[in-house]
Symmetry: C2
Amino acid sequence: MSDPGSPDQPVRVVVIGADAAGMSAAHQALRTAASRGRHLRVTALERTERTSYSACGLPYLIAGEVAGADALVARTPAEHRAAGIDLRTGVLATGVDLDVRRVHAVGPDGGSLVVEYDELVLATGATPRIPSWAQADGGLVPGVAPVKTLDDGPAWDALLQEATADADRRGELVRAVIVGAGYIGVEMAEALLARDCEVHLLAPGGVLPGFEDPVRERMGAVLAASGVRVHAGRRADGLRRRADGRVAAVRAVDLELPADVVVLATGVQPRSALEIRGGSLPTGDLGAFAPDERQRLAPHVWAAGDCATVEHRLLRRRVFLPLGTHANKQGRVLGENLGGGAARSAGALGTAITRFRAGGHHLEVARTGLGEADARDAGFEPVALLTEGTTISGYLPAAPSAAVWVLADARSRRLLGVQIAGGEGAAKRIDTAAAVLWAEGSVDDLAQLDLAYAPPFATVWDVVQIAARRLADRI
Amino acid sequence: MSDPGSPDQPVRVVVIGADAAGMSAAHQALRTAASRGRHLRVTALERTERTSYSACGLPYLIAGEVAGADALVARTPAEHRAAGIDLRTGVLATGVDLDVRRVHAVGPDGGSLVVEYDELVLATGATPRIPSWAQADGGLVPGVAPVKTLDDGPAWDALLQEATADADRRGELVRAVIVGAGYIGVEMAEALLARDCEVHLLAPGGVLPGFEDPVRERMGAVLAASGVRVHAGRRADGLRRRADGRVAAVRAVDLELPADVVVLATGVQPRSALEIRGGSLPTGDLGAFAPDERQRLAPHVWAAGDCATVEHRLLRRRVFLPLGTHANKQGRVLGENLGGGAARSAGALGTAITRFRAGGHHLEVARTGLGEADARDAGFEPVALLTEGTTISGYLPAAPSAAVWVLADARSRRLLGVQIAGGEGAAKRIDTAAAVLWAEGSVDDLAQLDLAYAPPFATVWDVVQIAARRLADRI
């Protein structure tokens, strides 16, 4: 009998989920194995017909900024197959037998399938949270949809075309209600304004609940100034339907908002509901798989991406942070380990960014590290300060404004978090703060850094540095 | 007798030079002293009538993008005086007696002046290098000028108006020759194109000599595509003059370029030529003052800004890096120490940025850390790689391109330098690399950072990370 990994006996890798994490893992595993003379045979089971696409691009696709859904695809099924991966689309994995190393699945024809593995990769992603009031007859109420999978893009396009034709007949605008005011909610508000809708945004926890008040207030003001009706503190709890079954209105306790279309932007949860037999797999926040820093979950089982937790470098614990950046990074680490290498995931800082742009308004927001409450809960003694400045020299025409919120620990002076709200060019400055957080730097480090200055790019002390310096002076 | 610093006996601080470094020092000294109950009396001697302005803004002023020269002034003489500084403009300091603590100067009326000090701040700045061939009759040949002081702004405006009137009569464009192709040379090429000149750029060491080839080539190509005639390898060595004495042409060995106006962009040198008596002051590169990390030069003597060296954090030695960012930072540290605090200058990385924009072309360039030759000279084992990508998701319309050059040490994997050339939004990404260099991070740190991603802001792996990752894979 030959060794596992030899040409005669390739290691049988089965990947469940053929999006960012799974396919990053698969390709990296093949590359690493090849460089080490190891042999792998990779089978990927994907429940849809789509692979490796940018879900983050969906709002821009729906807005009409992207040529078409295919443009969001980084690698097609054919490309994965050409790279040597046995990709099986339309296959829904339903369970895993850990002791005999078998995956149970339902094939495209509805028949059941069993796939044996030597190493299993769980990369099942996340799934939108669908409120019960949005469901009827085993599906979603017509006119109501999330924004998560690639096929949601063309579906939204069709829905909006139909609703626009209806509204045109009435001589009105399409009435769109967005349920949830996080990243997707805000991005869809931009997209639906671009599609000439009248946009209502239900924001039960206010706009951008993951941000601090100065950022939230600025986003709320720009949304309102652009004509978005923000309903803060309102939680949707029901629908009214038309005679034909389509949505007619969204209810939020005593408020009823007429609606031709409803966006569900109520967050996601890990898709980790496989039936596990012959053992158990460690899980964390929201039931997400909780792998170790090598992305290993259990003997012969690995996990990466939106179905898995990620180590938060400041909190020093694993959290659920379903973002494409982490999925790609974790997938790569997983693949390297699977291919015979030794890689470790370096963790995350909670960095995120988005924008809202409509009718001459442009607000960018970004965050990295902790918010004030999280920092206090984690045992820090946080001190925060907000500073207003401009992204470029104030004497140049239309220098965009930037508000920078900085959080540091009063005892150690360690930088804990930065949030930014501002005009064009403001938000990507968050990366500088993220790099300081990465190295566990202090608020003084951020204030003293040698950053790039020329009048069209920054003020002589960059606004992020001014903000850090002002806070440093107060600690 | 009372203590120095008491209300009866304030410490007499004399500052020579009332621009960024000197005035940052003066104001910070007053703030720090006030917070500690110390009393200072600050006198500032300034040879011009201008204070605290953005010399970096001059090309944009000349281009017509800034409302006027006054817009470049951060703080006027009146504002300094209102803050309690005894500012004396039109006073040229000529010498210092270290043993008796006296500054010798020439006043506005030409009379000599002696000013006593307890603590002396040298913030005399830098002065353009003026080639001997550009001089005549004790001044510059008419039509030839540098771009350094605030008054150079209106002077250039007048010169260009006059030259344009002349050229209009001839039915031609103004012929401008820029001598030197560093930052100022490139920025003035943009400004003079904006003023409808025919622009020739003499680049003896090629375009942007402080950058690596991939950046230089891209800038050379964009300059040429925008109609700038780049004369690489050509060193100006003489002028031809008209009968009325004005410049008629610039000579570079066997080349003669007709010229209505000539920009001297041949670099600067520290203005450190005071006559020092009663001791000596330490100097470094190009004769710049070489203070310690507290900005202290000698007992009771301090120095900051473009007249002084700055500690290079990677080279671990003091270098001449005349930039406004360092002047401001050093001035602040100096002032804090002078006011009774204890601050240290954290040093520099050689971060710099500029752009060239004309006729639909837009190229941004930036650098931080070491070039390959400098790194080798410093004892590192440098490995470099160039990576091309885009600043935002490629499926969005007109995603700007970005070329990122990364340098790391093959032995330690330490990041040594990054350079970027690209479209809108590319160059300021250098700050992320600067933050990693600041913390002495590795090329792996830069590759793994948790940076901000959303389609309108970045690719899912930011182009800077892709570049770092690709180099990391090769070491």
